[in-house]
């Protein structure tokens, strides 16, 4: 008999008096769960839920942050949606999603396939190394990569050695290269996080499923699609959801590397919102962008949930 069993047995034999006392214990215990939740709920309601409603309502006004707000209905949304810059910003967010959400998941799946099949030694070292970038502030990441991408920086030095001086470029100042260059930074930040998540999931896949697949003569590829991938459903959903939100609201990286430029090549919806509201005093349109961004995030998360949700 294990300790747990013993405890359970004792608990069972004494269950009756306890429940009787619970009943006579009246108001205190019935109110208890609500009292426990209340403090957290107050903070959450005041500083998350109420402000969401505030953003919604601000998006219906024309306001410079100082004078009296003027009701304009849905005009801000009409203006913002008619502005080609808005569309461009959401396209930038989409490219970030490709780089920072989908690509890391693909890379991590390849690595998980390699690791689970060969029982790699030194796995904890690799995990530590891969996860490290995710712990950095994006402000730190931005500064590091400003240097890496500089015309005289280390990446251009490597390119110069391999491809010659003609192939070097100031990546972050280049209209065509700035966005993919920041995308690569996004991959660098998130792929280790996704990998560690998927690896911990892969450890819970029963070994006999693999043995079974091998008995059936499955090669590494079929084994991956038949056993590993289905076994990682939950972890995939979590990884996709978190990196999706992370990519769609990308703000720190473009602000500190390119300030959204060159032109609007790397301006994300978050950056546009920030500039509208806190730089240009256009509160209404900025709030409208915030609302649109939130809707896009909710739709994206719902889509991931549908694709990878519980059976």
């Amino acid at each position: 008999m294990t300790t747990n069993d013993a405890v359970a047995a004792v608990a069972h034999s004494l269950a009756r008096p306890v429940s009787r006392r619970g009943r006579s214990g009246s108001g205190e215990s019935r109110m208890m769960p609500y009292l426990l939740i209340l403090p957290g709920l107050v903070f959450y309601a005041l500083f998350v839920i109420v402000p969401i409603i505030g953003t919604l309502s601000l998006s219906l006004f024309q306001w410079d942050g100082l004078t009296t707000p003027l009701w304009v209905g849905l005009n801000n949304f009409a203006d913002v949606l008619a502005d080609p810059k808005t569309l461009a910003a959401f396209q930038v967010a989409l490219v970030f999603t490709l780089f920072t959400c989908f690509l890391p998941v693909v890379i991590a799946l390849i690595l998980v396939g390699a690791i689970t099949r060969t029982r790699v030694r030194g796995l904890s070292f690799f995990r530590l190394v891969y996860f490290l970038p995710y712990t950095l502030a994006l402000a730190v990441v931005a500064i590091a990569w400003r240097w890496l991408y500089a015309l005289d920086g280390s990446i251009n030095e490597i390119i110069r050695v391999i491809f010659g001086a003609a192939a070097t470029r100031p990546f972050l100042g280049d209209f065509d290269w700035a966005l993919p260059a920041l995308g690569v930074v996004g991959v660098w930040v998130t792929f280790g996080f996704v990998l560690v998540l998927l690896l911990s999931g892969a450890q819970h896949i029963p070994q006999d499923l693999y043995d079974q697949a091998r008995v059936d003569g499955a090669g590494p590829i079929r084994e991956f699609f038949a056993v590993t991938l289905p076994g990682l459903r939950y972890e995939l959903r979590v990884a996709l959801t978190m990196t999706l939100i992370f990519s769609l609201r990308m703000f720190d990286l473009p602000l500190m590397t390119t300030q959204g430029g060159p032109g609007y090549a790397t301006t994300t919806p978050s950056l546009m919102m920030y500039q509208d509201v806190f730089v240009n005093g256009q509160v209404g349109p900025g709030a409208a962008i915030a609302v649109l961004l939130t809707i896009v995030i909710f739709v994206g998360v719902a889509a991931v949930d549908r694709a990878f949700g519980r059976e």
Partner: protein, 276 residues
């Protein structure tokens, strides 16, 4: 059986990505050890090695890296301790008790896992400006706690749900109230989960740039990431060794926290704790 070639290929793939992960750290560290007035290019291997850029970054009176790190530390300490406490309380209720409205309240909290700060920061700013809270720690502490409890309560709920019920029942039988059970039985045995939550919330709070640049404009009160942003925007923008030195100074506390905790609990716990 796994062939030798397959094994070699696996290691090659792992190694390539390890280089991809580490190269920016190495390159940034190398450049930061150059003297502040050197012209750096290429791999920027320092000659001679110098701590000058770190000293310049640390002592620059306008940016105030040291002061900003102190501010961030105060902020993170307050936000993490309050959020963890509130999350334990709410998670205890959601994870171990049955009551009316439980699932409605739970889903209400879940919204907070998805809502970005972008959706809340505009009214928060104007509300705080009206209350004269802009340029005080409150303007960051309050929204950070609000943003943290949704995740924290979710994390603690899923942990408490898997907590052995026998232990809880046994404590009740011994006459402990539910409040005493929480603090004498459950919390003392939940170290790993609580620590992991604290780590994640610390990293999130320490790294929050948007809130920091919107709410704080007084340089004396600036947070660490905002100080870096200021640094990049001003005279040091293209002095790569000094900006990189500043970035390393700001990154170190978080990396130390991460390293210590992953030694203790393993990277798994941390990644697991990041499940949203």
């Amino acid at each position: 059986m796994i062939s030798r070639r397959e094994r070699t290929l696996s290691y090659a793939i792992l190694f390539i990505f390890a280089v991809f992960s580490l190269f920016p750290f190495i390159s940034t560290t190398l450049v930061a050890f150059n003297p502040p007035d050197a012209t750096v290019s290429g791999l920027a291997i320092p000659q001679p090695w110098s701590l000058g850029s770190f000293i310049t970054a640390w002592s620059d009176p306008d940016a105030g890296i040291g002061r900003s790190m102190f501010n961030s530390m105060v902020l993170a300490t307050v936000v993490v301790s309050v959020s963890v406490l509130l999350s334990i309380l709410a998670g205890y209720a959601f994870g171990t008790m049955k009551f009316r409205g439980r699932s409605v309240l739970f889903y209400f909290f879940l919204i907070g896992l998805i809502v970005p700060y972008e959706a809340t920061i505009i009214p928060l700013y104007f509300e705080f400006r009206g209350l004269k809270l802009i340029d005080t720690y409150w303007s960051m502490i309050l929204p950070d706690i609000g943003g943290s409890v949704a995740f924290g309560m979710f994390w603690m709920t899923s942990f408490f749900r898997s907590f052995p019920h026998e232990l809880i029942d046994a404590a009740r039988i011994d006459g402990a109230s539910s409040w005493q059970t929480l603090w004498r039985v459950i919390v003392p045995t939940s170290g790993a989960a609580v620590f992991a939550l604290a780590t994640v919330l610390f990293i999130w709070t320490w790294n929050n740039l948007l809130l920091a640049i919107v709410m704080i404009s007084n340089p004396q009160l600036q947070m660490a990431p905002a100080a870096l942003n200021y640094f990049v925007g001003r005279q040091f923008g293209i002095n790569y060794q000094v900006t990189c030195a500043a970035a390393i100074l700001v990154a170190l506390p978080v990396m130390v926290v991460y390293y210590v905790l992953q030694r203790r609990y393993g990277a798994d716990v941390l990644a697991g704790s990041l499940k949203g």
